[in-house]
Amino acid sequence: MGVAEYAVEVAGAVKSFGRLRVLDGVELRTRRGEIYGLLGPNGAGKTTLIRALLGMVRLDAGTVRVLDTPMPDLGVLGRVGYMTQALALYPDLSVEENLRFFAALHGRGGDVDAALHLVELEDRRRSVVATLSGGMRTRASLACAVVHRPALLLLDEPTVGIDPQLRAQLWDSFHAMSAAGTSILVSSHVMDEAERCDRLGLLRAGRLLAEGTAAELTARAGSTRLEDAFLRLSAEGA
């Protein structure tokens, strides 16, 4: 059996919290090895969708497949990396101790050196996380998400609140991983990051309004800037 074409397949995903419908029939597929940008304003349902991909949200309707495996499935999570909005590190442990812990959870030895190299933290491997700067902690958090060499990396707004230089560094890391074959789904509400993705999905009010490359979306909306395209496509979808 060959490797499936898609890293993530979402079909008819519906999820409500009380009376609030957070996902409203989302259809989405990301290809293996691509960087897929899930764009949308705050409250669009991006985090809920990512948590559904991880089996942490029970859908009211619809299906989710990750790496050709129906979710929820604990086994496949060993091949998935997840960077949350929070730093999600143990502040009392060193960078290396955090990495080794998360590598162990995924059932593989992991490659601590490669993860540290990717985020350029080799010289701070023995530093206790609490002593690191905010930017270093963000990089350490990414290292924890990739230390087990995941086939799929889910990044929930990884660049929120960080400076432009670190943001550029992180995107370099994402591209390096993508080039090495890792499939990446990254959520963001920052439009200037969208052009760094291979393909985009515009999510608003729990619905995927449009999907395609940045060029395709701007052409479809008849605008030159992606931000204008997003606003126009949102208005059409409303």
Binding site: L54, M56, Y82, A86, A88, P91, L105
Partner: protein
């Protein structure tokens, strides 16, 4: 100093209190609950200590003292033979028995000294004092009008102890219970706050995004914290026994085993209750709500057997009650694992620990519903 700004601060604090129902409950409900617990424990009309009365004396005075004891409001006195009374003191059914020897009346008339033999169970100070007070009261009442005019009687019971003894002080009695309760309390606080931190710093979400199962998280936490808690328990135990010289008639390893079982319960209680808190502050709020009542009802303040009946039911539904009972059995009575009461105490605490593992696992939700 601007009173307007101060007033703004005061208004904001009051508004936050009104919105924070847990804190309101803590402020107003918990003191009422705790004081009520004290009221029922200390003044609640629970059972008085049970006492056996063995009358070997054929004189009038022996019968009179026995009659006064049986009518005493301080104790529940029942006529028994010496053998039965001794057996019931040994298994702690009785708080003690009073033996009025064959020469009791003659000795009192001759020496003006009332010397009943009082054999106390002795593992808890409260009931022992009550029994001695009842004996003194009954003796004095029985003597009135019996002795010749001008004779001043003295009541000097010959007291023997089944467990413990006159040499035991308050710390000896409470120390056995505190060894367990101190560890229980601290382990609960540390576990619940640590687990809350796991949630608040986002690492729990990362754990859920890994192949780690819920049960593995709970068991991992349980073992990790238990190892640390065991060291703590060992330090507490050694300090209590060798620095404070708290009385111990039993096996140190058995005390340690009972502490271990209580530690397992505390760890899992901490994980379980942390599911119902969103912040570390809320986890700490569970202490007066959950931990203090457990400590009060564990028998450390007032023996469970003398609590009001409905309260005894509550006490028997709480794990520290069994741990305290087991620790007192071992340290004061010198019990070993061959004692059915110790087996029961250990088994119940273990069962509570196991039930809390399941409860903690069940409430640790991977999925948002």
């Amino acid at each position: 100093m601007s009173w307007r700004r101060i007033a703004a601060v005061v208004r904001r604090i009051l508004r936050q209190f009104v919105r924070d129902r847990r804190t309101l409950a803590l402020l107003f409900v918990v003191p009422v609950v705790i004081l009520s617990a004290f009221y029922f424990l200390l003044r609640g009309g629970g059972e008085t200590p049970r006492v056996g009365v063995v009358v070997q004396d054929r004189g009038a005075l022996g019968a009179a003292v026995a009659q006064k004891l049986e009518r005493s409001a301080l104790v529940q006195a029942t006529p028994l033979d010496e053998r039965t009374a001794a057996a019931q003191v040994h298994d702690s059914t009785l708080a003690g028995y009073v033996l009025l020897p064959p020469s009791f009346t003659a000795d009192v008339l001759q020496t003006h000294v009332v010397a009943p033999r009082v054999h106390l169970e002795g593992s808890q100070p409260g009931p022992s004092q009550t029994v001695l007070a009842a004996v003194a009261q009954a003796s004095a009442a029985a003597l009135s009008g019996t002795l010749p005019a001008g004779a001043v009687p003295r009541v000097e019971p010959a007291v023997a102890y089944e467990y413990g003894g006159a040499g035991l002080d308050t710390l000896d009695y409470f120390g056995a219970a505190f060894i367990g309760l101190v560890v229980f309390f601290l382990v609960y606080v540390i576990t619940s706050v640590s687990f809350l931190r796991e949630r608040s710093q986002g690492t729990l979400e990362r754990l859920f995004a890994s192949p780690l199962r819920r049960g593995e998280i709970v068991v991992g936490y349980m073992l990790g914290f238990s190892l640390v808690a065991l060291v703590q328990a060992a330090v507490v135990l050694c300090f209590a026994l060798y620095a404070l010289h708290i009385h111990n008639a039993g096996n140190v390893l058995l005390i340690f085993l009972l502490e271990l079982l209580l530690v397992l319960t505390a760890v899992n209680l901490g994980i379980f209750l942390s599911s119902f808190a969103r912040t570390e502050f809320q986890a700490v709020q569970f202490i007066p709500l959950v931990i203090v009542p457990q400590v009060l009802l564990s028998g450390v303040v007032v023996p469970v057997s003398t609590e009001p009946h409905w309260m005894q039911g509550l006490s028997h539904a709480l794990p520290p009650t069994y741990a305290v009972d087991g620790l007192r059995d071992v340290m004061i009575k010198g019990a070993d694992l061959g004692w059915p009461s110790v087996q029961l105490d250990a088994a119940v605490v273990l069962a509570f620990g196991a039930a809390l593992v399941l409860a903690a696992t069940a409430t640790l939700r991977r999925q948002a519903v």
